[in-house]
Amino acid sequence: MTPALRVARLVVRGFRNLDAVSVEPDPRANLFVGANGQGKTSLLEAVDFVATLRSFRGATRSQLVGHGVAQAAARMVVEGGDLAHEFRLTFDRKTRDATMDGKRPERAVHYYGAAACVVFHPQDLDLVRGSPDLRRRLLDRVLVRVVDGYGEALRSYARALKARNALLRGATVDPRAVAAYDPMLARFGSAIVRARIGLTDELLPAARAAADDIALSGSEVSIAYRTKSPTDAGEYREALARAYDTDRARTLTTIGPHADDVVIKWSGRLARDVASQGQTRAIALALRLAELEVLERRSGRLPWLLLDDVSSELDRERTARLFARIAAMEAQLWVTTTDPAVSALLPDAKRFVVHAGTVNAQ
């Protein structure tokens, strides 16, 4: 059986409304109960932020730092696999410092790979209905953790793209300067697109199986990566050159992984057009479970799972099935809810009460 990654300890200070939170979670199941606005989502967001250095609510660092607080800080110890690793993070509105075992990681994959978790939260409905960047982000979450150099490629690509677009927006445009970014965009962009296509192909069967499991009987989910970018760096560069006049007219780079999408279909039609609210939730959840399965397969370690407000998301029967499926996997669970009755679904869970930015074991 694959070893499971587990958070052994989490300390958070000055993040959203969380103030001096220290949690020692159970290796298996953890339930966080609290009324609205007490800090449940913030707690999961903090865990995921340490792991990915991004907010799953799309928040900026200014929005995350506690009101009236100068700096947010977190420490997280993750066990499982080979060694335990200690992640430390401090940030304020302007700067961020993340270390793993006391050092800034040399490669992105070392950091992200050792802190692999999967989140399911209410805004995940937007995976199906929202803008393409959320779906690209689903793929990137996995790839930064399993492909050495992917995180670096994403960053360099974003930087080169920003610079090229700034040049295209200028009053006078020097084509030599614009073209100076093309080889980099081609090199990083084609690598990103190749990796994303490969991953989408891998996610597809896993998402289908998960969707069947959590009751989407009779209808088939399909996902496909949609891109205008060639996967060969040479052809990509030619495509960029061909698109120059269009790019110039639109004052932005029109080709590349930043413009791509993952098309989600349900019974052959666009899911965002035809899936009901409950079906949309189930599709989003199936995608997250597929994320978990592929991460496990590619990395050889089972990620831990953060489920925010899950009772409001699915009906009782589906929730029960979901928990049955998860229980069979041995992943560490962090489940938040406003409804103390959810306890019945996780009878062995360690219980915490979340209240006014504090988290205490019961």
Binding site: A160, K162, P183
Partner: protein, 198 residues
């Protein structure tokens, strides 16, 4: 305000130096106080006299105490090959590697439109003029392997191409995203040997 809070004022200035955050600036200020007035005075004088005693070499642009630097006035070095670097300390790193016998050109900047350094602001003309007048036959672009460094190299390659010089880029050995400054001399020597055409 500096009257009431001389430490705070010093911290503010120190924190403007690259790589120095508020925290280390504060440590520096306290360390200066602790090490006594002589050291602080010597440091202050050394820093204060820098702009008077050091200027840019009139030929290559690196910092020197004279009109032209040692390298530019060295008759043993060849004018055939010109190595373009972004920063003076990158020139120093290449010199420590010790395998290069040509001349240098220091840009003092990189193409970086996001920081307001677009092609119009880029100091291209002095380089072009120098390559033409010195009858240079080969130009090595040794800008760092970062997004800005790569873009600068390609931009320079396009600008130099009409002059018909051989163009190359320092290749392997220098890690991507790395800082030329921190590469050991051996790696850098190999990087210089392993230059590839642009």
């Amino acid at each position: 305000m500096s009257d009431d809070d001389p430490i705070g004022a010093a911290v503010k200035l120190l924190a403007r130096l690259p790589g120095v955050g508020e925290k280390s600036a504060r440590r520096m200020a306290y360390s200066l106080l602790a090490s006594g007035p002589q050291f602080a005075k010597a440091l202050g004088d050394a820093v204060a006299s820098l702009p008077e005693r050091v200027r840019k070499c009139s030929v290559c642009g690196t910092y020197t105490g004279r009109e032209t630097c040692n390298i530019c006035s060295d008759p043993q070095r060849t004018d055939d090959i010109l190595c373009v670097v972004a920063r003076p300390w990158e020139l120093d790193a290449l010199e420590r590697a010790g395998s290069f016998r040509g001349r240098y050109h220091v840009l003092h900047t990189l193409l970086d439109p996001l920081s307001g350094l677009g092609p119009e602001q880029f100091p291209l003309d002095p380089l072009l003029a120098r390559v033409e007048s010195a009858h240079t036959s080969e130009v090595i672009v040794a800008t760092p392997p970062t997004v800005e460094g790569e873009a600068t190299a390609l931009f320079l390659a396009e600008a130099l191409r009409p002059l018909g010089v051989k163009l190359s880029r320092i290749a392997s050995g220098v890690p991507h995203g790395g800082d030329l400054e921190f590469v050991d001399p051996i790696t850098l020597g190999r990087a210089l040997e392993g230059r590839r055409g642009l």
